[in-house]
Subunit: 203 residues, 2 copies
Amino acid sequence: MLITNSELLAMDRRYRGNLINALQGYKPANLIGSISAKGQSNVALFSSVVHIGANPPLIGFIQRPVTTERHTWENIQETGYYTINQVNKNIYRQAHQTSARYNRKDSEFTACGLTEEYLHQFKAPFVKESLLKIGVKFIEACPITINNTFLVVGSIEMVEIPDTWLLPDGDIDMDAADLVSVSGLYTYHKASKLEKLPYAKAK
Amino acid sequence: MLITNSELLAMDRRYRGNLINALQGYKPANLIGSISAKGQSNVALFSSVVHIGANPPLIGFIQRPVTTERHTWENIQETGYYTINQVNKNIYRQAHQTSARYNRKDSEFTACGLTEEYLHQFKAPFVKESLLKIGVKFIEACPITINNTFLVVGSIEMVEIPDTWLLPDGDIDMDAADLVSVSGLYTYHKASKLEKLPYAKAK
């Protein structure tokens, strides 16, 4: 069926939100860990983490408009550092629970049953239950003027990964990693490999 | 194991590319269709499509630096329109093949075994073999200054989706859709639903 832009705009707000969030298919599920200058930690689920570049190693995510308290973003501005932690099958329920609205003084780590962990003197908390963790330094916020969101870009300062997940070519063995993906706003999926294809060349 | 930023920078280029591209987990697999002002069509695989907002409905993707020919981006600048088409299990090999470097005069549609399709007077080609298709109007290109990439943001002008995939709440039945996700640069995965969770509320 065809759904036009006017039909999208006329939809019930929640219905439209569910549909638009589901359109691009399977999204990565990542927990972003951060801490305020006063030492209040925070962890929040994002499904908008995106590859920005490999040399130098950069990673981004979309930050919603700052019209209300945005603890992750406030912390990043205060300290300049954050962590991106992959959600696996054992913690997707806890990860989802971090999307609830908690007070500034409550750490989602404690409230949602996740453990904050400090590694290698990095200045932001990692999620202990996640086994693939990235330490990120804030680089720039690129404004998206049409809806006051922005793309937050950071430099990959460190990666913590189990040795056995690393394949000889630098790729990650996703079946071993047991990560989940998310579709829409509420649905979590496990995946299994169909095929690893070769570098594509014109015939 | 710990991998530091200096170790990442010292890695072989291809090894680092594989690793950095795999870090965020499962990514959506989308084919972007476009056409030049002279009528030369193009289709290319992107794994960086990201949700920007639901009201108004917006979708984005990361465009690599324009240091070489970038057919998709040139076409978008010429016509202002493009399409985003979900990759399903039947076409992931053809979709991957579009990442090969073809000449400007060759359409990846023909070269890769995909069918271009024009629907509802929309000004860019859709991928016929994809069943979930989005018609997009270019809105803005947000520069990422650190590596000369940019986030291309567009307005969702129309959605073509099989009726039976739409759930009563506006969400999409991903198991029915049979879409694939991609990890790293070469690996395709099917997924199966673990659980749809409720809207998260603080306890």
